[in-house]
Symmetry: C2
Subunit: 304 residues, 2 copies
Amino acid sequence: MQRPSDYQSFNQRLQGCATLIERRLDEWLTAPEKGEAVPGRLNEAMRYAVLGGGKRLRPFLVLESARLCCLPDEAALNVGAALECIHCYSLVHDDLPAMDDDDLRRGRPTVHKAFDEATAILAGDALLTLAFEILADPETHPDPGVRSALSLELARSAGRAGMAGGQMLDFRAPGANLSETEILRLQSMKTGSLICFACEAGAILACAETARRNALVAYGGALGLAFQLADDLLDAEGDAALVGKAVAKDHGAGKATLVSLIGADAARTRLSQLEAQACDALAPFGDAAATLIAAAHFVANRKH
Amino acid sequence: MQRPSDYQSFNQRLQGCATLIERRLDEWLTAPEKGEAVPGRLNEAMRYAVLGGGKRLRPFLVLESARLCCLPDEAALNVGAALECIHCYSLVHDDLPAMDDDDLRRGRPTVHKAFDEATAILAGDALLTLAFEILADPETHPDPGVRSALSLELARSAGRAGMAGGQMLDFRAPGANLSETEILRLQSMKTGSLICFACEAGAILACAETARRNALVAYGGALGLAFQLADDLLDAEGDAALVGKAVAKDHGAGKATLVSLIGADAARTRLSQLEAQACDALAPFGDAAATLIAAAHFVANRKH
């Protein structure tokens, strides 16, 4: 059972991380001076896509998993920023007319609406590329072996067998009558893989022992599935004003979700199980894991 | 003056490299077995975008620059394959309706025509991500410092201040009345930066001394500008059947090229100067640079 004080301190910590990450992203995307290399409009679109919104859950998980492995926030900020670049690029491309065709994101016009489609495609490409520039930067970690391991894992998590592959399955899913196994595979690729990377990244940064790294991966795996299930429940039952984007959209598009397959009640039971599973995985860390345990509670019970 | 025998051996070498690279790309994109992680349609679109065509000039430059620094082809193949993934992703996204809206590429339907737009966007994203997966793979180089340096340089060359930034400038160029300086900046970002990376990559892989690395960078810089100038001349005067894509397209779209600004004759003179500049840069390598010198001649005089 979650104590209210843990939950309160979790919220403070989540907001504190969001501020740190926002600042770091702003530094990476500082508007170019006249004559500098990045075209102004591209930089503007990248900033629009990345700054000024979002809970920054993935960077928070990077910072918290690093902290569990005894690393200060400062040592994990670049990895958090890189991961957020990947997450935000995927939203920009996902919102395009040829994909989900969304006009609204976090209560604001999507990038292709605020700019144009070509700019949205290029801003997404440039953010994806920037993520790997950040990871390869010597300031991200002094040991190139760590930087290379982070690049390898992020590329695998974000690519054809991870997030991009999951988006492909999702795009092809309407009318495909997916089984529960197939839906779980889709979701663990589309959403789970980046969340899992976020949790593993702290262990990689800290060169943590295998047992600790595996514990964080197990936590991230359950958390990722819980996140997507909560998202599906919000889509089926949520309030557009709170969620900040069009709801009932997946259901309307006939997209395969566990909620449509097993019903909302069974989905809520499953969500509680996943939350418990995520928390159990953190047993090796003892009380130090309180914030990540509160994070699992937050993910499973969020209303937006 | 180029001797015929050098040119002949250059052609054999270019074709030999293309075969090696095709094979390596095929290995990275082997069709997934049933139950494996990469969605079949995504893998198919990635293979369609990457395999079965193209001169593989960029990977050739990687292999040749590595060879000049005494590394065998095998040691450079992964970097060549990664670079080709970047090049091909940029073509897939560039051909999209919201960008250049091209139906034909290398004489075949473009990816969004052969598949669909969403698949083309995702296949491009997945190829871009795969490039960094390949560079971070321990098989690419045993020293993670080298892998990390390659990732950093490729990300800078392909990203907001390199290729993607150049595409953004190009997209915004019609009607913008760019000056010669602005056109050169656009072209050195859009086309030059990847070609320059290709030439530098061999030196990075071989941990070559600074003077040799700088010589290859200078060669790559001149070669990249020559490549784009030759492309513009082909676009203005070429034969669609030979070029394998729609010609007179840039001119028709009012895109800024040096050819439209200074005229074809002056452009041809400039092209000869760039070829000479590229060759001069290779002086430190002596006779060993014969193939790269032939490559400069090929780039400046190609008919398709």
